[in-house]
């Protein structure tokens, strides 16, 4: 085992362990925090593999943005009393499907790539940047549209009056203000 292997095994164990805890923890908040660790560990894996840029984005976007959003959502939805896990039969089935996925994926990948060693020779950040703004400029542009629309949609959905238990009198902002989403109204 080379040094990199050992390093990867260490980081990978941490990641896998955190991931396992994040899907088994009964405490919603703990699960979210374990997710932070898992995703951070994943960033570590990227680092070990030599992909600094991806690791950085992983840290910034996932740990920085996504997880914070998740935490906010947890707070906003005050979901203390909601049961967290499904019934035992479904969990057993879930475990089977999960294990099946692991076996299938792992088996396919290992049978294809074997157990041998290869040198790490990924392109540097320059090359990645050149690709983003070069050959992949089309999906990149589409991505910008996607982000814009996701943002607009999220704001609109989050502020739309939705009925049900959402009594208008208890809504944080009265309906007239919702117009402000798209532009101030006199």
């Amino acid at each position: 085992m080379s040094g990199l292997d050992v390093l990867f095994v260490a980081v990978g164990l941490v990641t896998a362990g955190a991931a396992a805890l994040s899907v088994t923890s009964r405490q919603v908040l703990h699960a979210a925090l374990w997710l932070v660790v898992a995703l951070g560990g994943l960033a570590g894996c990227y680092l070990v593999l030599g992909a600094e840029l991806v690791a950085l984005v992983q840290l910034l976007v996932y740990v920085g943005a996504v997880v914070v959003l998740v935490l906010f959502a947890l707070m906003l939805t005050r979901a203390g009393g909601v049961p967290v896990v499904t019934g035992v039969p479904q969990r057993v089935a879930a475990a089977l499907v999960g294990a099946g996925t692991t076996v299938l994926l792992g088996g396919a990948l290992l049978s294809a790539f074997g157990w041998g060693r290869v040198p790490i020779d990924g392109g540097g950040s320059t090359e990645v940047a050149a690709t983003i703004f070069g050959t992949d400029v089309w999906p990149f542009e589409l991505l910008s549209a996607l982000l814009l629309m996701a943002l607009v949609a999220a704001v609109a959905v989050a502020r739309a009056p939705v009925g049900g238990q959402d009594d208008p009198s208890q809504r944080p902002d009265p309906p007239a203000d919702v117009e402000a989403v798209q532009g101030e109204r006199p």
């Binding site: 589409l142 009925g163 117009e179 798209q182």
Partner: protein, 512 residues
């Protein structure tokens, strides 16, 4: 590394996107106005449609492409089939926009009751989703495919949730339920797509779709393809990825349901076509996974549709069944399979849109308390023949019965690759489903044809179908002073779509 960019060929994507952005900016400048936004949206879609039309005249092997490398690979490549799918999607989106015009532009029955700035947002979302749909079949690499698919999916989730604020509270809450069903399925499916994409890259060493044939790890490629298909299948509502369909269709506003049932399907099929084409240089092999999906979809969809009592739910399950038919030709990885699936999809989209437009017209008439239930449409042929006849045409097209030759030809075209492959078990399943499908749609047709129920006040009985024209019957059936009319735009859409189906049944239109 130079990239050739040809903006005119990506215009079908850019026009709706630009209109969406323009619309959001306009909303900042002209808050509170609604009609201009809809006009801009319609113009954007129309511009995209016009820009996509020249692609229909491309010969085999030709394509309008952009973002090309010197090696011949292009990030965007629209050949004849892709252009046809784009035209279909843009046209259908335009129809949906017209269908929803009143709903999105009107301030609501009570003055000022609709107070949110919903119209600009939903129109922008519709345009963006359509742009995504248009971009999907032209994708030249995995990145474009994934991004375009998400662009086509995410806004629709919001569209389902953003209903009129004048609706009853529990109805609005159900819309959120529908959005949740769609959202969770789409999230998980995106996970599958991402895994599939990763495996694809691992198998072929490239994110581009031109290297599949020299794959170093073919077995990994098969797994990747199956995962991609599974990730895409939720969007066509193929069994077992269909469970969101009835929930969301029944919960969403009718025009949005129409959008999900038609335009969204184009995106899904576009994605599948891209995948199949990337794989499909090997003639005559059968993708068992797709075959199983197709067989299961049509069987389950038809069986469950057979017992539905609500027309929207019936259409939802019919969508599931039709998804099977769309997938059917793709089970064989041949060159003609993709165009066969595309041809079927175009016919399906036209017929389904027509059914939804007529449904919207029936709802607009509002002579019944629950206009979308099957029972409410009993005797429609006598009371409103000009609504019932197009609806029957649409249903017969979906069933594939001879008066609607377009449907028959589509079914023949879809079956041919399967027969060519000699996948007899699949052909058998399809044959059984032709019969089942007949039962499903004829059941509806029978309700339309049946004599009208006699319970209506005002002496409107079945026997008077001869004497009273549709309007009189409707007027007599509706309470006095509450006479409603079918809006002109719905008549226009009905006429247009009917004309398309009739033309498709008369003119020799076969495979794309």
């Amino acid at each position: 590394m130079t990239l050739e960019v040809d903006l005119s060929s990506v215009l079908p994507v850019l026009a709706p996107l630009a209109a969406a952005v323009l619309l959001l900016l306009m909303d900042a400048a002209l808050p509170g106005r609604r009609e201009p936004h809809l006009v801009v949206g319609a113009l954007g879609l129309a511009a995209g449609l016009v820009a996509a039309l020249p692609g229909l005249r491309l010969a085999v092997g030709e394509a309008r492409s952009s973002f090309c490398l010197a090696g011949g690979w292009c990030a965007y490549r629209a050949d004849h089939l892709v252009s046809a799918l784009q035209v279909c999607a843009l046209g259908a989106a335009l129809v949906v926009l017209v269908l929803t015009w009143r709903d999105w532009s009107a301030p609501g029955p009570g003055a000022g009751a609709e107070t949110t700035g919903r119209a600009p947002v939903v129109t922008a979302l519709l345009l963006a989703a359509t742009a995504g749909v248009v971009a999907v079949p032209a994708a030249g690499d995995l990145g474009s495919l994934l991004v375009a698919l998400e662009l086509a999916t995410l806004p629709t989730v919001a569209l389902v949730a953003l209903v009129r604020t004048t609706w009853a509270a529990d109805r609005r809450a159900r819309a959120v339920d529908g959005a949740v069903a769609l959202l969770t399925t789409s999230l998980v499916s995106f996970g599958l797509l991402a895994l599939g994409a990763a495996l694809w890259v691992a198998a072929t060493g490239s994110t581009r779709f031109d290297g599949a044939t020299r794959a170093e790890h073919p077995e990994l490629l098969v797994l990747a393809a199956v995962l991609l298909v599974a990730g895409l299948a939720f969007k066509v509502s193929a069994v077992p990825f269909h469970a969101w369909t009835p929930v969301t269709y029944a919960a969403a506003p009718l025009p949005v349901t129409a959008y999900l049932a038609t335009v969204s399907k184009v995106a899904a099929l576009g994605g599948l076509v891209v995948v199949v084409r990337a794989l499909g240089t090997v003639e005559g092999t059968t993708l068992v996974a797709v075959a199983v999906l197709a067989g299961a979809s049509m069987t389950v969809g038809n069986l469950v549709a057979l017992v539905q009592q609500d027309t929207v739910r019936l259409l939802a399950w019919s969508t599931v069944a039709q998804a099977g038919w769309v997938l059917l030709p793709l089970a064989s990885l041949s060159a003609q399979a993709a165009s066969a699936a595309g041809s079927y999809l175009v016919v399906y989209v036209t017929a389904t849109l027509l059914a939804f437009v007529v449904l919207a017209a029936v709802v607009a008439l509002g002579v019944q308390a629950r206009p979308a239930s099957l029972e409410a449409q009993r005797g429609l042929l006598r009371s409103h023949p000009w609504l019932a006849l197009p609806l029957m045409l649409a249903l017969l097209t979906l069933a594939g019965l001879p008066p609607a030759v377009a449907g028959v030809v589509a079914k023949v075209v879809a079956l041919r690759p399967v027969l060519g492959d000699e996948t007899w078990w699949l052909a058998l399943v399809a044959a059984v489903n032709i019969a089942l499908g007949l039962a499903v749609y004829l059941r509806w047709v029978a309700v339309l044809v049946a004599p009208a129920p006699r319970r209506q006040a005002g002496g409107v009985t079945a026997g008077q179908g001869e004497a009273g024209t549709g309007d009189q019957a409707a007027a007599a059936a509706a309470p006095a002073g509450d006479r409603r009319r079918v809006p002109v735009r719905l008549w226009a859409l009905t006429g247009l779509l009917t004309a398309l189906l009739v033309a498709g049944s008369i003119l020799p239109v076969g495979a794309l």
